[in-house]
Symmetry: C2
Subunit: 387 residues, 2 copies
């Protein structure tokens, strides 16, 4: 492609921060030692690794020894679900496939969401049973960008724990959140969130792909998904990903440092894009939550339009957006998220997910909106529908 690219799919993948790669390179080429080897250059690598874990953990108010490094959010979620033991699990209808697949291995209840994608906390409270051991709700939805009422959910869990204590019931109840989407843009401090476990993914925050972590408070009992040499306190065996962890540390700390200003910056651009599209297409439907929304997410639907045709037309003009989440999009099935928020099929099929990131700026986004608008307009002309 010779067309200059305007990348608006940061929710699917982020480029690696060049400073992260720079920090990783010596661990690839020079201090490549196995951190379990006993000589001092390897012990230094071990220290660097543990310090990187500490720095990562401090970024969200935790300690390095509460963190298990993994090969990404999916593995972290699988590990988090081991805490459910033989218990019942409560999650939502709009979770990532990794959560839904992990939940399917347990007796589980999927709670519905509002048309704005917020989990119905009253229904979540009712879904709890004495045998419920895990509640797993993503901090921000990865298709429409809705932020979830995690504090409320944590309070519901606390009430249930108190009831169990009073009733002499021994089963624990944990709250896990996947906070990967929106990492670097929203507050993920674990004591403010109040959760027991949190999944993060380096690949969503300008860190290396296939690097993630599960933070678990010390009272949470996990079982390893991968057994072996006993690394990560026996919870995740295999030679440690030193370079990847160093890269995650650099990317995360840089992203966290500019979190507030970056969130404000992107929200302003996003709002301007939405306004411009709304002005041109009054029939456009904006999904997600007007109030509780990822600052970089804009999910729009053009009823009667085929989003896949739009996507390819945009691509030919250098604009890259998504029609749904990358995983779901690949399967040619309609998004379970859009179904859950009640979008009619002809609306869902005309949906674009626009997600901004580090290289997004006002000028590029105005250009993108103009290109998107022209493509949508010509599609409406083609199908003869009302805009």
């Amino acid at each position: 492609m010779n067309v200059p690219k305007i990348y608006l799919d940061y929710a699917a993948a982020t480029p690696l921060d060049p400073r992260a790669l720079e920090a990783m390179t010596p661990y690839f080429l020079d201090t490549f030692y196995n951190p379990s080897s006993p000589y001092s250059p390897a012990l230094q690598v071990r220290r660097d690794y543990e310090e990187a874990k500490d720095t990562i953990a401090h970024a969200f108010g935790a300690r390095g020894n509460e963190v298990v490094m993994t090969a990404g959010a999916t593995e972290s979620i699988n590990l988090a679900f081991t805490s459910a033991g033989d218990g019942h699990v409560v999650t939502s209808e709009i979770e990532h496939h990794a959560v839904l697949a992990a939940a399917d291995q347990h007796d589980r209840t999927l709670v519905g969401v509002s048309q704005h994608g917020r989990v119905d906390t009253a229904r979540l409270a009712k879904a709890l049973r004495p045998e419920t051991q895990l509640i797993s709700i993503a901090l921000a939805n990865n298709e429409i960008g809705t932020l979830q009422p995690l504090r409320e959910i944590v309070e519901i869990a606390k009430l249930e724990r108190r009831r169990r204590l009073a009733a002499g019931e021994k089963r624990p109840l944990y709250v896990h959140t996947d906070a990967s989407q929106g990492l670097g843009l929203i507050d993920i401090h674990v004591s403010r969130l109040g959760v027991d476990m949190m999944t993060l993914n380096a690949g969503k925050v300008y860190g290396p792909k296939q690097v993630g972590l599960l933070w678990a408070a010390s009272h949470v009992v996990l079982n390893p998904v991968v057994v072996g040499g006993g690394q990560e306190r026996g919870l995740r065996s295999g030679t440690e990903n030193v370079a990847g962890t160093i890269g995650f540390m650099v990317a995360l700390t840089r992203a966290e440092k500019r979190q507030r200003q970056e969130a404000e910056r992107l929200a302003a651009i996003r709002d301007e894009m939405r306004q411009a599209l709304e002005d041109r297409f009054p029939a456009m439907i904006v999904s997600g939550n007007p109030k509780y929304q990822l600052p970089n997410f804009l999910h729009v639907s053009f009823p009667g339009i085929d989003a896949e045709r739009v996507l390819f037309a945009l691509e030919s003009q250098g604009v890259l957006v998504a029609t749904g989440s990358a995983c779901a999009a690949n399967k040619g099935t309609r998004s379970h998220v859009l179904t859950a928020i009640g979008l009619a099929p002809e609306v869902a099929d005309g949906s674009l997910r626009i997600s901004l990131g580090r290289d997004s700026n006002q000028e590029l986004c105005q250009e993108a909106v103009s290109i998107i608008g022209d493509v949508i307009a010509s599609e409406y002309d083609r199908v003869g529908g009302a805009r």
Copy 2:
């Protein structure tokens, strides 16, 4: 450390091939797209990924669609063991901790080995039961370097399969090998090995760490260890490690290309080192197999000597060797491998594992032997033992 380093612990970790890093870099920084995204730059990434898998698979006589990419050998082994289902497992006493830990989750029999570390195939044949579903034997041992009689083991499995067929028994019997150790130095062509499954680790062959694969013949039934978005034919979910797979491809193909000559080169240097040490220390015990041995491995024991003291003295003179496998060494327990081959505790505790690699050459290794010899001699002087 200002001392020039002579690294002789390639079995624990290898540096990343700079050409592998060069090939990975564009996938970190530029074509960082999610391979599941639908636009053409992402489809190109998907093609690059699948082609890299094909190239990797061709290097050992297989097809890319028989390969599951993982986060390393440990995860691959865990995945291979899902093929055992509810069946019985046979492995050896000297396997890597990952195999032993995975086997512990099943009804299992550990077969003993000879003093040279070869699996006793007669005992292995006797260990098979009608309910045995998996035999897992590493191609080369990671502490002493013994190559295993895999062809014989495959023949034993074939006989048992024939018996089951005749008896109308339906249970399958699979042979898995972890061929990570010695990758790039020994033949790993799967049709010549005759196995049903093979684990490989990029981090042992100058590829990136936390990248590995499980090859499984198409008749093998696996269950995912990590569930989610359904990547890798549903066997291993999570966004694909494109950069890591590209790096593995470059490192593996480069290593395979020079496999024979590199094996000969290192074996010659290794033999010279052994001879020089034997000449100086007649009481030295060489472990591993005189005939079936990894070309880059030299495992030597100096009875009565404290190998940990030796290791630190060597380190201060810039020579890095191992006292046992990196994983086991870190735990302050005696190696299960050295116990299994019948080394007395005072012999085992005086053991060094020397493993050569790409930057090893005759001059450096002669220097290393001289340094090792002086350190051992001064230790013998200290303890007053016979050399």
